[in-house]
Amino acid sequence: MSELFGVYIHWPFCASKCPYCDFNSHVASNIDHHAWRDAYRREIEYYASLLKGRVVTSVFFGGGTPSLMQPETTAHVLDTIAENWSVARDAEITLEANPTSVEAGKFRDFKSAGVNRVSLGVQSMRDDELKFLGRQHTAAEAIKAITIARDTFERYSFDLIYARPEQSVTDWRAELQDALRYADGHLSLYQLTIEPGTAFHTMYQRKDFEVPDEDDGGALYEATQEVMEEAGLPAYEVSNHAAAGQESLHNMTYWRYGDYVGIGPGAHGRITMNGQKQATRAHKAPDVWMGRVKENGHGSHDFEVITDDQLFEEAMMMGLRLRDGVSITGYEERFDMGRIHALEGEGLVTLNGQTLQPTVKGLQRLNGILNYLL
């Protein structure tokens, strides 16, 4: 496979703010779409000037709610990318979409703009749960959006949030089975995380609801693995499931610790320049970012050189999220082999030659493993 090189585009706007969400997303009434188009163009051009001659293997429009973009903006961005870099023939071009009817109505135009994969934020197959999650759509609308996506794009995936308050393993198995009827090749299944600074956080602190504890969360995770394996969509990453060959190439770029450029407010990047890995981090506030782009051609804070220690940590942290694991070549002396063997003894990892691989059991305890090993 050619070297992975991804471009992430952040669209920071949503129709409303979901109570669990701590992504860099904002509800805005009047968006100057032309200004955004220009800003994206300038920032892409900036990074292209630093990273000449790379071949783009994936583009990902994330958010926020990128399906609220004007398809013209999407097209403009993709054109700009193609003008500045060469784009691999089989490049994966994903757009995150919310499954409302308004957005589903634009799928055809996104397709024309160059998008070949959508990732739909379905979140739940149950109306009452969708309400609890503060979503704008119903289960029926979600199914409709999925159907349109299936008819429109080469590939699609959707996201579900589970381990919700009071959710039993039985309920979740049933809901997941429902979802599987509409899945094709790829599903992202995230356990609900209570993030600081969200409405859920306040409610949780106030004890309005409880979330499954470690044991219940563990049981839900284990049930998920069982159902998905049976369905032929095993986990290839902690929360991502795919049939063989259907993995998200763009996300694989993160996990394999390849280079990616981050465009748009709050976007992060990891780019190699003169043999040196650098971290880029764009200003989060949309107007600040926009101002910086106008002024400097890019909206990032100062680039940060990744030290050898950090490089090792990041590569392991990301790589071990994958069932395929990570190569420890060059890092052997950083590990305490005794510890790796101890984890092997517990059935949490395997070491095959130079590849350190978490087992399914290990994936669900990854933070503990990282803590123990690094």
């Binding site: 995230y190 995380t193 996300n251 992060h268 940590e313 101890a342 933070n367 803590n371």
Partner: protein, 603 residues
């Protein structure tokens, strides 16, 4: 010129805390003109309290007052303020030994308390004439007759001549001063022509003067330039200052028979000036030393560790600074696997331990982990030798032990009737043996013999909570007794946790062990491996808990490429690891041990 003996009165003030000792002392000082009106502030003795000014624990103090009585004679009154707690029982006994009488101050709204009793007994042991003073009679709730009745019933002293006063408003202070002169005796013996003989009452370190020594002269004189000898410390020094407190520092030419005051002799190390030592003239020494001298022996031990390992040096310096002024504090370096480097410290008693810990935390700004307090055990070995055990960790192998002795105390508890049942149960639970149970009005006076070990562990807190704060408690040491004592060891993944080792009675070992295991199970976070927590008695497991391995710990979402955020989290956790201790293949946060120790005995 010093006063003739008949014109001197040396007396102490005995009172339960808050019964008004300091306030009464103020009034006496003020009435005798020791301080002018403008210099007078509240609680003169307390504000001089070397504690605050120079950072001393609890020290005896004296004030010399000039009082012209109705007979026209000017008397020299030496008022002695003694440390008020049994932890300092020996120091108190020496202060009392320097006086011939005591004022027994009883708050007329409260009555007699346990601490009053213990102090009175000490005064009686020192042959004191005791003058009861009924205080706070300005208050509406004052009940003079009831207070007198209690003095007679509970203490057994004649209260006919008790003086009712108010230290606050000054009512009857003149009457009290007159009673001091007429009712209290003058120094019994004392000859100007005999060789110098003086009692070392107390001492403290002053950064300008060096060690200041509080003395009571028996025979002869102490003068500037005199070469003196400390008989027990076997040291010789030249006096460079002689003086008294009024409470201000006033230099004098000499101190004569029966008088109290201070001397300095260019001494830097306070451990040279032992409380109770006899000071005599180097060239013309007295024949025998004063009776009653005892070297100070720490009774209660605990280890102190800095929460932040890098503060070890600071802890050592701070202990050194406290020691400068408190010869009774003992400490030596200890290295614990669970808690790192720290000090094993010996204290005179519980209060002493609390004071030192508090000072280290407040004055020296240290964050400390104290281990459970323990006492000194005497271990009789099979080979006939005896060793003293200061730290449970050092308990020898059971096979080599013939028997173990532990220190006991005699506890005096005064408690309102309705809480008596609870208090008796508590004493019983703590292996107490009842000695006495009497009633005084609606209160019970209970005397128990208890193992000190059972008292150092939160006994006082339990007593207070059972009685809603109404019980008062005091104790005196009462020898060593053999008992079925064993070392309880806590193990994590088969490795002993030194900081949690303790000596317990065999009958209590199992429940104590189970309790600690359960507690640790809740405190230790789950890990990649399962953890065995066990309590063992000499190699035999008596309780065990298993903490199962982590079931789920993973970040579900990976934020579009925001690796830094995850890495920083990991780095933070790694920093936290520095406060972890390794047990087999698991790392246990120090905080788990700290909290296991902190929780005390709550059931």
């Amino acid at each position: 010129m010093s006063k003739p003996l008949e014109h001197i009165r040396n007396f102490a003030i005995i009172a339960h805390i808050d019964h008004g000792k300091s306030t009464l002392a103020d009034r006496l000082i003020q009435t005798c003109g020791g301080l002018e009106e403008r210099e007078m502030k509240e609680q003169v003795l307390d504000s001089m309290e070397i504690e605050r000014e120079r950072g001393i624990t609890i020290k005896a103090q004296t004030v010399r007052l000039a009082y012209t009585a109705k007979d026209g004679i000017e008397y020299q009154l030496n008022l002695m303020d003694t440390p008020g707690h049994v932890d300092f029982a020996y120091e108190v006994s020496r202060s009392l030994a320097s006086c011939e009488g005591s004022l027994l101050v009883v708050d007329s709204t409260q009555g007699v308390e346990a601490q009053t009793l213990a102090n009175v007994y000490q005064a009686i042991e020192n042959d004191h004439e005791i003058l009861p003073v009924i205080n706070k009679i300005d208050l509406p709730a004052a009940d003079i007759d009831k207070a007198k009745e209690q003095i007679e019933d509970v203490i057994g002293l004649d209260a006919t001549d008790a003086v009712p006063v108010s230290g606050k408003t000054g009512i009857n202070i003149d009457q009290l001063l007159e009673a001091i002169v007429t009712k209290l005796p003058c120094p019994k013996e004392g000859a100007a022509d005999k060789p110098t003989k003086a009692l070392l009452v107390d001492s403290w370190y002053d950064s300008y003067l060096g060690v200041v020594i509080l003395v009571r002269v028996i025979d002869g004189y102490l003068r500037k330039g005199q070469k003196i000898r400390f008989m027990k410390a076997k040291a010789t020094r030249d006096i460079d200052r002689v003086g008294m407190f009024t409470p201000k520092h006033v230099l004098l030419d000499e101190l004569g028979p029966g008088e109290m005051g201070f001397i300095t002799a260019s001494i830097k190390d306070i451990s040279e000036t032992k409380v109770g030592d006899t000071i005599t003239d180097e060239k013309k020494p007295c024949e025998t030393a004063l009776p009653g001298f005892k070297p100070s022996i720490p009774m209660v031990f605990c280890s102190l560790f800095p929460v932040d390992a890098s503060e070890y040096e600071k802890l050592r310096d701070s202990l050194g600074k406290i020691k400068l002024n408190d010869a009774s504090l003992h400490y030596e370096t200890e290295s614990s696997q669970a808690l790192g480097l720290g000090f094993r410290c010996g204290f005179l008693g519980l209060l002493h331990m609390e004071i030192i810990q508090e000072r280290l935390e407040r004055e020296f700004d240290l964050d400390l982990i104290p281990t459970a307090p323990s006492v000194v055990y005497k271990i009789n070995m099979t080979d006939g030798s005896q060793i003293e055990l200061y730290n449970p960790v050092d308990m020898p192998d059971v096979q080599r032990i013939k028997s173990v002795e532990e220190p006991w105390i005699k506890a005096t508890i005064l408690v309102p009737d309705e809480y008596l049942g609870g208090i008796l149960t508590l004493c019983q639970e703590r292996r107490g043996v009842q000695i006495e149970l009497n009633y005084a009005g609606n209160r019970a006076l209970v005397v128990y013999r208890l193992p000190l070990n059972e008292v150092v562990f939160d006994f006082y807190d339990r007593l207070k909570s059972i009685s809603r704060g109404y019980a008062s408690f005091d104790y005196a040491l009462d020898g060593y007794d053999e008992n079925d004592l064993v070392k309880l060891e806590i193990r994590v993944n088969q490795e002993p946790v030194d900081a949690l080792a303790m000596i317990v009675h065999k009958d209590a070992a199992e429940s104590r062990g189970r309790q600690l295991c359960e507690r640790l199970k809740d405190l230790i976070p789950r890990q990649m491996f399962k953890i065995a927590i066990q309590a063992a008695l000499g190699g035999k497991i008596i309780a065990a808990e298993h903490l199962s391995a982590l079931r789920k710990d993973v970040t579900a979402k990976c934020y579009g490429g925001d690796v830094s955020r995850k890495r920083k989290l990991l780095e933070k956790q790694k920093k936290g690891k520095k406060k972890m201790r390794q047990y087999g293949n698991v790392e246990i946060p120090q905080s788990a041990f700290i909290n296991a120790l902190k929780m005390g005995d709550d059931k």
